[in-house]
């Protein structure tokens, strides 16, 4: 349809554009290419927007916890399942993912792979320890604390599942040879996402159980 434009402006390039009908190739495999500095910053900005926007649901939850249940914690809520265990697993994952990122920068894809695999397993462990108290518990789901708590567990499971899948993707892409010392943006972002998820859960846990 572009041919139907009459060319009025005299910018040389423009007429060339409209005439050549160059089809836009819509797919690419960017992962194997190096990112420019600008692209790095852009990518990190994207990560920042992800973190900022996804921190807000957590703020809402914390806020609602106060609005609806004050600071009350029932005596029979387990400190470990749905509490410290997932916190520990996620915290360990922060360590492993960033070790992995450091390793790939130093050109050791093998290390990246196993650290991220360990993180993924830690993710699964966190999901399990978040899920168990959702199904088996002594506190009352219909209570003030109980109803907030189940929602928080559900939210944490959702985000941890997402994060674990993302971390797992890095393992696969490294195996396919798509991640190397100069193409570390993938693991870097996955580590950011992991760290965010761990901190967000920790903040939630503190609001729920400790404060």
């Amino acid at each position: 349809m572009a041919d139907e434009f009459a060319i009025v402006e005299d910018h040389e390039i423009q007429s060339a554009t409209s005439r050549t009908h160059k089809p836009l190739v819509e797919t690419h495999h960017r992962a194997v290419l190096e990112l420019s500095n600008r692209e790095w910053r852009l990518g990190n900005f994207g990560n920042a927007l992800y973190v900022i926007s996804q921190a807000i649901p957590y703020f809402v939850l914390m806020n609602v916890r106060w609005m609806m249940a004050g600071s009350y914690v029932p005596a029979d809520v387990s400190r470990w399942l749905g509490g410290l265990w997932p916190t520990i697993f996620l915290a360990l994952g922060i360590l492993f993912t960033w070790i992995g990122v450091g390793a790939i920068r130093a050109g050791k894809p093998g290390t990246l792979q196993w650290t991220f695999l360990v993180s993924a397993l830690l993710g699964v462990a966190a999901i399990v320890t978040l899920f168990v108290p959702l199904r088996i518990h002594s506190w009352d789901v219909m209570s003030h604390f109980g109803s907030i708590y189940v929602v928080c567990l559900g939210v944490a499971i959702f985000y941890t599942t997402l994060t674990t899948i993302v971390v797992l993707g890095v393992v696969f892409r490294t195996a396919a040879g798509l991640i190397g010392p100069k193409t570390t943006f993938g693991p870097h972002s996955a580590a950011i996402m992991w760290t965010f998820n761990a901190i967000a859960w920790f903040a939630l846990y503190v609001t729920l159980d400790l404060v």
Partner: protein
């Protein structure tokens, strides 16, 4: 978001894909499978309540999630996002013809078009609901609906689809995706995959809300007020889920466009040269990024309370807790709708008058301050639930917000002052939009006054007010932009006489209908009622006639635009002699915008001299 960078020219990485069935068909099939699997899992395996039907409100929630994932994967996310993420090569070929609109695409112009079509479809679906409501209100008794609940569900469907698939979306996801990369001299948006996915969530949301009566009626309207929602039959579940799809869609677009505006600008396009529309989109996007997640979490709480069920917002927390968290989002939402419209005025008027934009910096300040203030005023929606001494700050800030809003007016008026304005259809529609928004704004300031608010709360005065701001300002500006950019989208020109006729038609019908909404409200017409006192019937009857005329007017404009899109006279590449960059490229969907990256030399809104705004830099070698 990793490895989704724009690099549309890496042809060597493209492999020919296997042949698959048409993606939309595959999407529907996978959606059906996804629904079947998850619904069965939940209702028949995990939760085996005896005698429960196959579809329960718990299982339908999971089934819906499965269907949505199946749909997204089917229309292309499987090849374009998931497989590459796990290290497989991308095998996704977008044919360079009409089929590209029926599959996931990374071309921002294709995505923009898809968004426009989805969004306008939402507008007409919700508009149909409005017509039905007005039909009911022609008579003081219940006659066009079987039950009051059916009427209320229709009001809810109307408001929800209008707000979340059109008001929030059209100018951002639609025009924004198509035009923003062009306007800033880029070949792509920053994260094309993000917009690609988000577009396909929109139809999911529209259809989900439109089909909500399948699960039962709901009476809360677009605000989903809990705990009222918990008392209704199950239709409300599809409200939450549909809104979740639509808000996720807008959130993703906003993230993409924010990054695009900040990072993809052409050389020389410095901060003080950013186009007005890009400023408008930036402001709206930032609001989206903050407030959409907020309302999503609120709705998750309400949904969970509903399906588990939990006693939240009723025995635990109060209805006021819900109102609080809803309106925290709800007021910024209205600025998400209207700020891009202001920006459109400032985009169109300097071009039509070929006169430099007046006080541009103040225009930007206006947009930014409106954005920042919008989080401070939410409780003006809750005056009836507050003590007098709590009202004052909210009343005050609400009235203050009219000051930066006024900048948008002054900038526009200053621009047309003594210009040789061409009174084309877009100009006309911008003026109409300004006039309507003036009424919307003045009634808004009135409503910010608790004394008036307590009298008119929940009457048609309020309904008149917000339709003046939303239809009056946003929809009229959308139409102005539709006519203004038609030559850019299609290469063809509309018919000026028909365009003006269409504009005057909707203007007269709109004011005839909604001007009288205001009067009806003052006479005591409640909103949210299919049945009302007999003495109001005469005026309601007449309002409905105007409303039908308005509906036909929108249809007329739609037909005109669609017709001219295909059959109009071929237009010049830059028919309005605009200086902004979207007119400096004639690329159609599927083509590269700027083969050689542009370098911007001056601002876009200075019409005092003829020096070129940009030059082409030598094309980058594609290795």
């Amino acid at each position: 978001m990793s490895s989704t960078f724009a690099q549309p020219s890496d042809a060597q990485f493209l492999r020919r894909g296997r042949r698959i069935m048409p993606p939309v068909v595959r999407g529907l099939l996978w959606a059906a499978i996804g629904f079947f699997i998850l619904n069965t899992l939940v209702s028949e395996v995990l939760d085996r309540t005896p005698f429960a039907p196959y579809v329960t409100k718990l299982s339908v929630t999971f089934g819906w999630a499965g269907a949505t994932c199946g749909w997204l994967l089917g229309v292309g996310a499987w090849e374009l996002v998931v497989k590459p993420y796990f290290g497989y090569p991308v095998e996704w070929e977008v044919p360079n013809d009409w089929r590209r609109y029926f599959m996931m695409s990374l071309d921002h112009k294709v995505i923009g078009m898809q968004y426009m079509v989805s969004s306008v479809s939402g507008f007409f679906i919700a508009g149909f609901a409005a017509m039905w409501m007005r039909l009911e209100l022609m008579n003081a008794g219940l006659w066009a609906f079987p039950t009051p609940n059916a009427y209320l569900s229709t009001v809810g469907i109307h408001g929800t689809i209008m707000m979340f698939s059109f008001g929030t979306v059209m100018l951002v996801g639609g025009f924004g995706n198509f035009l923003i990369p062009l306007m800033i001299g880029s070949n792509s948006s920053a994260f094309p995959r993000v917009s690609a996915i988000s577009q396909w969530l929109l139809p999911v949301g529209i259809i989900t809300v439109a089909l909500s009566p399948m699960l039962g009626t709901w009476t809360t309207g677009w605000r989903g007020y809990a705990p009222l929602a918990q008392q209704d039959p199950n239709g409300i579940v599809f409200y939450y889920l549909g809104v979740f799809a639509m808000t996720t869609s807008s959130l993703l677009v906003s993230i993409n466009l924010t990054a695009t505006i900040l990072f993809q600008r052409a050389k020389g396009l410095t901060w003080n040269r950013i186009p007005m529309y890009a400023w408008g989109i930036l402001a709206a996007s930032l609001l989206n990024i903050i407030w959409l997640p907020e309302i999503q979490m609120t709705f998750v709480l309400a949904l969970v309370s509903n399906i588990v069920p939990l006693p939240m917002f009723a025995q635990i927390g109060t209805p006021l807790t819900y109102m609080e968290v809803f309106w925290l989002f709800g007021h910024p939402e209205v600025y998400i709708v209207v700020v891009p419209a202001f920006a459109l005025w400032q985009e169109i008027l300097p071009v039509m008058g070929q006169k430099t934009l007046f006080a541009r910096a103040w225009g930007i300040l206006g947009l930014v301050f409106v954005m920042m203030f919008s989080g401070l005023v939410w409780a003006h929606h809750m005056f009836t639930n507050m003590r007098n001494d709590q009202m004052l700050p909210f009343s005050f800030f609400t009235e203050m917000i009219s000051i930066p809003t006024g900048f948008a007016f002054l900038v526009s008026l200053g621009t047309v002052w003594k210009s040789k304005l061409r009174l084309t259809t877009p100009t006309l529609l911008v003026f109409m939009s300004m006039f309507n928004f003036l009424i919307g704004g003045v009634t808004g300031v009135m409503l910010a006054d608790p004394v008036i608010n307590l009298q008119t709360h929940d009457t048609f005065f309020v309904v008149g007010h917000f339709h003046y701001t939303i239809i009056g300002a946003m929809v009229f500006s959308f139409m102005a932009a539709g006519y203004y950019w038609l030559p850019r989208f299609s290469g063809r020109m509309y018919n000026e006489a028909l365009g003006r006729l269409g504009a005057i038609w909707v203007f007269v019908a709109f004011n005839g209908a909604f001007g009288q909404f205001l009067l009806l409200g003052l006479r005591g017409m409640n909103r949210w009622v299919p049945v009302y006192p007999k003495y109001l019937q005469g005026m309601n009857f007449e309002v409905s006639l105007f409303a039908f005329l308005l509906g036909l007017g929108f249809l007329f404009n739609l037909i005109h635009i669609v017709w001219m899109w295909r059959r109009g006279k071929p237009a010049d590449a830059n028919p309005w002699h605009s200086k902004t960059l979207e007119w400096q490229s004639t690329s159609m969907p599927g083509e590269t915008n700027f083969v050689s990256p542009p370098k911007v030399l001056t601002g876009f809104y200075d019409y005092s001299d003829d020096s070129p705004v940009w030059k082409a830099t030598p094309p980058k070698e594609v290795s």
